[in-house]
Subunit: 710 residues, 2 copies
């Protein structure tokens, strides 16, 4: 990074190029907001047609501005942008926001002009937000470099702790407005537009370091630089700032829409999902979940465990909440017996086990709610609480009584996150906000909030130190004899074997005589496989012979396989692989890697054989993967049951499998540029203590590597 | 049913026993509502302490009432209920609502008294709603037999078409209030309480026949009579009234809460889920989904297909909607090219493929929305539409412009369901309602509404005529030789074979000599299995010998197996089963039945072997199952891929499998009382055209059957 984003997010001086005295115009709105919401820095309107705008001196060009300019807003027609930007460079402006559209989003010509902006920015140490962007604002500083209409009528909520980054201005404006209706405040709002320079990852990094921001909320359609995004996630985690992301473009159709909407490249959604989980980012799937979870992170204390106490005025909603608590990975322990007894004394008709149903009696006993909550939470057996109050929020009397109770409980148990659920109107919503109580109208959404806090708590735990495997002195290209980027089973296994990954006992025979010698050495029966870099699907071509039992069989087999290859056009004969037969009781697994265009090498593990395709039971991580992480991957598989003691079957050697996955992942990481795809399939897992063996393998190198090989 | 529910839901005369002049009291509230909301029938307050209440003559007891009483409300302390009910019987009252609590929900004593009420009601042709219930109301008739507070301040929405049945009064009140906030109206509201007589199924049946009800919404915790509930579902379907259900008690913890909340027995949730799907009931999982879908069914036209057009002012929300449309089983076809061209002419910067993004330009071109929508919908390529308008709903100007456009489109395309999505305040919500437009604040929820309409459309298709299989003249008890309720493989297969279900070739040998004879007849190799009704897990006991190749082996095998059984305490020796070995290429499946305590015989199909437990890949239906339904079951399985042509493998004989499942289901249905559980596992499916064979089977009879066998 050539300069930091302080000048953008927190400038001491702002020039508005294309400034207008009309607050309804794009060039007038920022000035209006800056004045209205009390920006304390210097403001320089720039417009050759005015001497003065709203009592501020107006300058003909930015060059005439007397002082330094931290941030220049460019609100001009597209054709003037490039030359104006050059003037900004001359003026040594630190950063610019370009509102103007007509760049990469409209096609090649626009893209070229945008690329020029990018190049100039890099060369001249000036940062660009946009073009084609709605701008940004910093609420605490009253800094509004945006033409969004969302601030025309209502001010933003003050004191918010959520930093909000959006790749879409319209989406961001919508979410901002919705959040404001619910009195949820943001510290910053930034729409990144075409991301010619500053992207979402840059903004996350800035907000991770920002003292006024506790939580980072992001809307993204796709990242161009996966590595940078991961670094931003890691920084946020280190700074203990949770991130909640809404990423769209999940399905193929959604992705197509994403590509026509922005110029960004959209990676496969499962990879994003993996990256988010691996780096502790909470992924929301709907707008409701997005703002609910951001609010939970910013307004509730961290939760210490998964035990939820449910207080309800409706048995029915209590049962529904109980279902949803369990479905979201939380727990609903029974109230301790002594507490139950005391609650029953208070109200014999109450349900006291958890959910705790105070019934409609709550309307006649004003302290019932606080008495129940106090008894239950004091037991120390619960980490969070949900209070369902029906439509009490709509009735002034009951609302005031309940709020009194809730405040008492909040004061007494400040460490316990509490979400109140009740129907609301604008007045009662405001009252809850002013009292510092978190309220939602829907019970299901309250459970999601608590569940997100709990998942987050686990994500924020310090990362385990990565086991650094020793650097192997292996040169990929020394091993490969052919010039094809697609490697045979033999070549692929030669490579993995260099990394101490156990493979089947096997030797490549170049002649009939060698084949027999090797078979004797390995021991009968053997498998024979014809190797040709041009024929990778051996079985379909009839290049696999199993259970060959004697020298005569080996001789005939060798010649048969060689003949098939020789008769195949443009196929080179590499040799015949003489291989041991595996007969021990075992489980077939699949271990592989795939180079994602955004995030790089991803490691995959799953059940092998035909079942993987039917059940899509695959776990994924970004490489490298420690053995601990590999264990987590195996645990994620539904089929992991089959690897354990099961129906009287002994367990399989999961430890050896994890060790293999980890070694493989470090190998892939070492050659992250060179290896395009690798499959160890099947990887045979024997009974506990008996290890693993790669029975077949395939590897495909990057096209660039092919050039090296030639 | 001894009398219909007309007197309850639509009475011409109502007596209120325990009536009070105080509208805040339980006995006063119904009278207050009846007067306030204009009930046209006769009202008889009953209370010995008053001559008159609110200008109506008050009677000492119901016996003094001069005319007939269709409905009596009992609002008295528990101890007076039974005697009062007896007086109602004497007065020949048609139906009663009992508000009073203190019955089955408080324990055995209360249960006994409730049982007396039930008995008296049946004997005297009088219907009871409750006890322990909030009552009911009929909006059109101004008939309020409830003490719920939800009508104290605000009237219900008039003209609603949703009939709402709830097993929980508090839940019902909450949903009613929430719906009213969104201007969603109900035709009826009924809370069934302890269901001593009238239950949810009765209410569904009444509402299915009711002319003012188009949609039935139910909250349930559990049904006691599954058969009756299914009949109610079938009646509603026949009357083309969609049902949306929110059923709680899904998880074990939820179910425990359900049991402590009501006296109802809660069946396993997967069975409920199956029944809902099988009988065309839409299951909602959250309160939001519940009211959204009920609203969609009641206010939108039926949808003719799955093709959705998305209109949006935010590209980002457009992508999100595209994702969700696909995830919900809907389609998002591209706009026809000629239409795209015309749209581009209107607005070059628009996205015109679908999602259709009008961009913020919509603010400057007042007819842009209607012009876009008209062009697109006129193509005839779309069945429904979603219009996302951001926060337009909060700004009076833009709101009015948009509503004008939407009304024009609604008038022009009345057959196309249209959901508008925008942020709202109470005033704008009201405006949408008054204009007859369906609006929601959340895009995801709008997709769910359209998706529910589409699923419903398919569910409402006429049911295929059931293939009635011929009645077999089979007597279960003739076949069974032992006196145990648990049948051996041999006995179980003897039974299924009577129903033309193919089983392995096999004969039960009682002696060594017979065993050899049979083996010769079947052909070597054979399998030998020791049969004892007391030993059902044969493999674990070593009672299975495979691949027995000659007479000597058969002799030795017979004696070996007999010895194991003879040496097992309390095990009867039934014989040794001599069985063919199956060697052809095949797939192992699992076919079974399970008697659910609520809904009776459920048929299950899944992948056999160890995988079923790991992947829980099972399809379920209530018996009987036609071959068409069996085909649907197979299609539901993830593993159905493995039965089809797959990786060059030929397909397996799915038709024969479906035929087997159907025959099995009819057999189970015939013996629905007698058979507790049956497993055909594995059922071997051969290659296409080669059929199926049951390789092993187990059956367990109902305990009652055991008595017959003895």
């Amino acid at each position: 990074m050539n300069n930091n984003l302080r000048y953008l997010f927190n400038p001491d001086s702002i020039a508005i190029i294309g400034c207008s005295p009309n607050a309804k115009k794009i060039g007038g709105r920022p000035l209006d907001y800056l004045i209205k919401y009390g920006y304390k820095g210097r403001i320089y309107p720039i417009n050759p047609n005015y001497q003065e705008i709203r009592d501020l001196t107006c300058y003909e060009t930015i060059k005439n501005v007397p002082g330094e300019v931290d941030l220049a807003i460019i609100a001009l027609p597209q054709k003037l942008v490039l030359s104006t930007f050059q003037t900004c460079i001359e003026k040594k402006v630190k950063s610019v926001v370009i509102f103007s559209s007509g760049f990469s989003e409209v096609g090649d010509l626009g893209k070229q002009e945008q690329d020029q902006l990018t190049k100039l920015a890099k060369e001249n140490n000036i940062r660009i937000l946009g073009p084609n962007c709605l701008g940004l604002f910093n609420v605490r500083k009253g800094m509004y470099a945006t033409f969004s209409t969302i601030l025309e009528e209502d001010a933003p909520i003050q004191g918010g702790k959520i930093g909000f980054v959006s790749q879409s201005g319209a989406f961001g404006s919508h979410v901002f407005t919705l959040a404001r209706q619910h009195h949820i405040g943001f510290s910053h709002f930034v729409a990144t537009g075409n991301e010619s320079d500053i992207d979402v990852a840059d903004c996350i990094q800035y907000l991770a370091e920002d003292e006024e921001t506790d939580v980072i909320a992001c809307y993204i359609e796709g990242a161009k630089d996966g590595k940078k995004l991961i670094e931003a996630f890691q920084l946020a985690k280190q700074k203990k700032k949770p991130i909640v992301i809404l990423k769209v473009g999940k399905t193929d159709v959604g992705m197509k829409a994403a590509m026509s909407h922005t110029g960004s490249m959209v990676g496969s959604d499962e990879v994003y999902d993996t990256i988010f989980r691996q780096y502790g980012v909470y992924r929301a799937h709907t707008i409701e979940e997005f703002i609910d979870v951001a609010q939970a992170f910013s307004e509730l204390p961290a939760v210490n465990g998964n035990r939820v106490a449910i207080f309800t005025v409706s048995g029915g909603v209590g049962i529904m909440l109980a279902d949803q608590v369990m479905e979201n990975g939380l727990a609903l322990p029974e109230t301790p017996e002594d507490v139950q007894k005391r609650l029953k004394e208070m109200l014999p008709i109450a349900s006291v086990k958890n959910p705790l149903d105070t019934t409609a009696q709550i309307n006649f006993m004003p302290t019932l709610l606080e008495d129940f909550m106090e008894e239950v939470l004091e037991s120390g057996q619960f980490d969070s609480a949900i209070a369902f109050l029906g439509f009490a929020g709509l009735k002034t009397d009951s609302l005031n009584t309940r709020i009194k109770s809730l405040l008492k409980i909040k004061a007494k148990f400040p460490q316990i996150p509490l979400v109140t659920v009740t129907l609301n109107n604008p007045a009662s919503k405001k009252l809850f906000y002013e009292k510092g109580l978190v309220v939602n109208e829907d019970p299901t959404r309250a459970v999601k909030m608590i569940s997100a806090l709990y998942k987050l708590g686990k994500n924020m735990e310090p990362v385990q130190p990565e086991i650094q495997r020793e650097n192997k002195d292996v040169n990929l290209y020394d091993i490969i004899s052919s010039s094809s980027a697609e490697l045979t089973e033999y070549a692929s296994k030669q490579i993995v074997a260099q990394y101490d990954i156990p493979v089947t006992k096997e030797i490549l025979a170049k002649s009939e005589k060698e084949a027999v010698e090797f078979a004797e050495e390995i021991g009968y029966p053997v498998a024979l496989k014809g190797m040709s870099p041009q024929i990778l699907h051996k079985t379909e071509k009839g290049l696999v012979l199993l259970n060959v039992k004697d020298p005569q069989g080996v001789k005939e087999g060798f010649n048969h396989l060689k003949k098939i290859i020789d008769e195949t056009e443009q196929a080179d004969f590499e040799g015949v692989l003489v291989q041991e037969m595996l007969t021990e009781k075992s489980m077939e697994m699949f271990v592989g890697s795939k180079k994602d265009p955004i995030f790089g090498q991803m490691i995959l593990v799953g059940l092998g054989g035909i079942y993987i395709e039917a059940f899509k039971d695959v776990a994924m991580r970004k490489a490298p993967v420690t053995t601990e992480m590999a264990k987590e991957m195996i645990e994620e598989l539904k089929s992991s049951k089959l690897l354990k003691e099961f129906r009287g079957n002994a367990a399989y050697d999961v430890n050896a499998l994890c060790e293999l996955v980890s070694k493989f992942s470090y190998m892939i990481d070492t050659w992250e540029e060179e290896i395009e795809e690798a499959d160890l399939n099947p990887t045979i897992v024997f009974r506990n203590g008996l290890g693993v063996k790669v029975a077949d393998a395939l590897m495909k190198l990057d096209k660039k590597s092919e050039v090296i090989l030639m």
